[in-house]
């Protein structure tokens, strides 16, 4: 279906992809792994002829559906996109048109390619939503993207990519925002599709996910494939040292050695928030001490991001109160909160949307820094802490990879020197090695400065690694909480048990047969 040889993509003088060969056949799954910024998303976009105006694309060979795509005109590309090749973009949160209803977005490929009679489209949309695991599909179809949680949006996006039954699906980090139960469901769905003959180009930072699906794996570094082969071999016995570092960064406990302090820095009591009839958060309480990390896990749409925004004082709760450093916080007017804003910072779930598109990375970070000379130097220092370099300082967010953007968001949050950090999926787009680097960074801050964190993540192993206590959320409620070991070892709530069971652990990857369900 797709066959590429010698693919080169340049952005100006920088070659983001240099001479990549790959093929995806019907019913076959090729996984692209590689560190953040290695060129995965760029390849995906280039295969759709959408590398962007600044990009120059060249290839020795580029065949899609058996035709030479090198001399495709717009028309020909359009026939390919959505129909021959479906695409799930990495930036799931911003990839649905905010002005259109979810159902219109999902129906669009069917309308464009006329793959379904007009009368049936409505029913199909609901069916698709159900298949990707969206509860209440009928209700959700009629909503607008901003009314959906991150995970719901991601599922809607996958549904739209599958709508016209494409021959090949390119999925760029399709499960970043999904909790493990839903993730499992999506992976099943993709496996089904593959069995039905759909080729799959899967881009993921998560070896566990790759292990579940891929027949073959290509490992990308700096735009070049350093290793490729059958999934079992590459994942099981990597040859290239880069691949090994990519896979072997095993999460370890980063809490050890620094017991939480006794001072309560953030306290929430009986928090509740509804959007119309939907209760996004109900009666949630938490106490966070300095140096402590509370992990928050839970179903997608269970109210985690809403909770984070309430803690931050960005959304006013309908019920309950948040106190910061023992003083009122959520009840204050914004003017009174402002001087203390630096104390508590948020890493947004949607970093892209939280950047002013007009500003460069340097200025975005500088905004968090105190006024004065040396701001740029400090910004660079922060960038380097999250594994970016001076070369990124003058770029605009649009020209960064997904993982790079996420790290900029972290750098910005740290720049303010907060005592409390609320992280909403801070490492969802990062490969394990960089994840490890970031988590070490946070652990260091916690250790040295007593940084307290509310850490929201769908990745149970990450949560387990960083948290002292953990809260499990479902339908806006905390269904279980306690010391992390207790909850993970002896889950009491049935939902927690499902969650843990569904987690594609690293342990499973060695013996995970690619075709196994």
């Amino acid at each position: 279906m797709i066959r590429v040889e010698g693919l080169v993509v340049r952005f100006g003088d920088v070659a983001a992809v240099r001479g990549v060969d790959l093929t995806v056949g019907p019913g076959e799954c090729l996984a692209l792994i590689g560190e953040s910024g290695s060129g995965k998303s760029t390849i995906a976009r280039a295969l759709l002829g959408l590398a962007g105006a600044e990009a120059s694309v060249a290839a020795r060979r580029l065949e899609i559906g058996g035709r030479d795509a090198r001399d495709f005109d717009e028309r020909a590309w359009r026939a390919v996109r959505g129909r021959l090749v479906g695409f799930v973009a990495q930036d799931a949160l911003g990839s649905l048109d905010p002005l259109r209803r979810v159902r219109d977005e999902i129906a669009e490929p069917m309308l464009i390619h006329r793959t379904a009679p007009a009368g049936e489209i409505g029913a199909r949309v609901v069916d698709l939503l159900g298949r990707v695991g969206v509860p209440e599909p009928r209700v959700r179809a009629a909503q607008y993207p901003h009314e959906l949680s991150g995970g719901l949006r991601q599922r809607a996006l996958i549904a739209s990519a599958l709508a016209a039954e494409p021959g090949v699906l390119i999925a760029d980090e399709p499960t970043t925002a999904l909790d493990v139960t839903v993730q499992a469901r999506i992976l099943d769905l993709l496996a089904d599709a593959r069995r039905a003959g759909t080729g799959l180009l899967l881009i993921s930072h998560d070896p566990a996910v790759v292990a579940r699906l891929a027949d073959r794996v290509a490992v990308l570094r700096d735009g070049e494939v350093v290793e490729s082969g059958p999934a079992e071999r590459v994942l099981g016995a990597p040859e290239h040292p880069y691949t090994r570092t990519l896979l072997d960064a095993v999460p370890r406990a980063r809490t050890a050695g620094s017991p939480p302090g006794s001072r309560v820095v953030l306290e929430a009591t009986g928090i509740g928030k509804s959007y119309g009839a939907r209760a996004a958060v109900r009666d949630v309480s938490l106490r966070l001490r300095s140096g402590e990390t509370i992990g928050v896990v839970g179903e997608s749409g269970s109210g985690k991001s809403t909770l984070a925004r309430i803690l931050m004082g960005l959304v006013r709760p309908d019920a309950g109160e948040v106190r910061l450093d023992g003083a009122p916080w959520s009840a204050l007017p914004e003017r009174r909160r402002r001087p203390r804003r630096g104390r508590i910072q948020l890493v947004h779930q949607d970093p892209h949307g939280s950047f002013d598109p007009r500003l460069t990375v340097g200025r975005i970070i500088a905004e968090a820094l105190p006024r004065g000379p040396g701001r740029r130097a400090r910004a660079l220092e922060l960038l380097e802490m999250v594994g970016l370099s001076a070369g990124h300082l003058d770029r605009r967010p649009r020209r960064l990879s997904g993982g790079q953007r996420q790290r900029v968001a972290i750098a910005r949050a740290l720049g303010a020197g907060p005592g409390v950090l609320v992280c909403d999926e801070p490492v969802s787009a990062l490969d394990v090695s960089i994840q490890a680097q970031i988590l070490d960074l946070l652990a260091g801050l916690r250790h040295r400065l007593g940084l307290a964190m509310v850490f929201i993540s769908h990745d149970l192993s990450v949560v387990r690694g960083v948290s002292d206590t953990v809260m499990v959320m479902k339908d806006g409620r905390v269904v279980e909480e306690g010391p992390v070991a207790d909850v993970f070892e002896r889950p009491s709530h049935p939902y927690t048990r499902t969650l843990l069971a569904a987690s594609p652990t690293r342990a499973s990857r060695a013996h995970a047969a690619p075709h196994e369900r």
Binding site: E54, A55, S56, L314, R341, A368
Partner: protein, 278 residues
Amino acid sequence: MIPGALTRPSRARPAGPVLAGAVLVVLAVAVAFPGLLTGRDPVVTDLTAALSPPGAGHPFGTDELGRDVLARVVYGARTSLLIGIGATVLGALGGTVIGLVAAAGGRRVDQALMRILDVALAVPELLLALVIVAFTGTGTANVLVAVGVAAVPNYARVVRGQALVAVRSGYAEAAVGLGTPWPVIVLRHVLPNVAGPSLLLATTGTGTSIISGSALSFLGLGPEPPAVEWGVMLADGRENLAVAWWPGVFPGVAVVAVVMSVTVVGRWLQARAEGRTA
């Protein structure tokens, strides 16, 4: 916006901004050293040579009193641009401040300001300008103020509308989360995002202000003769359009050239500031 299929990005050198820049340079010369562009006096009449067509002695011809049209266009630049640009700057600045305050100042401030603007907008600009001029007297500066003040509500509305969208954006929220004070958020994030349409209005506004100024002159509240001003030239020139096109067409062309150049250069600068190639 062109998707890069198997393409190289286009790197055309824009001819527009260069041309527009040249026009603005000529204009600047006309304002600063009109003598460099014409050797003639714009107010001296020569009744024996009234309405001579463009030719050797008078490249743009002469008007109904035999005054050199080129000289009048050149010398008129100063007054016209003063009114056009001055009034626009005044209107755009005032409007932007009010619009931003309304958008960022919370519901009550917004409501109050918007209702005041409704009233202000309801006052026909002409009337407002008339009243201002009636109190301050005629003359270039007063026309400038009158036209500028009359334009404030318009800019305010536009800025406020755009700002409302920007204020609710993710990045504005992120800035709130950083504890950035509102004024800074407004200046750093909201303003640049509302600048597009208002800049555009401002560039067009330059021409419109020249015209509004001339409408005032028309009612006798503008610069008095023999002051040279494009709007007045336009108004006078149209009387003879059927027999002599040049006194009415050249000042019009000057207005068009100014507005176009300002627009093109403004757009180019904006695109550069945003790092895109447009």
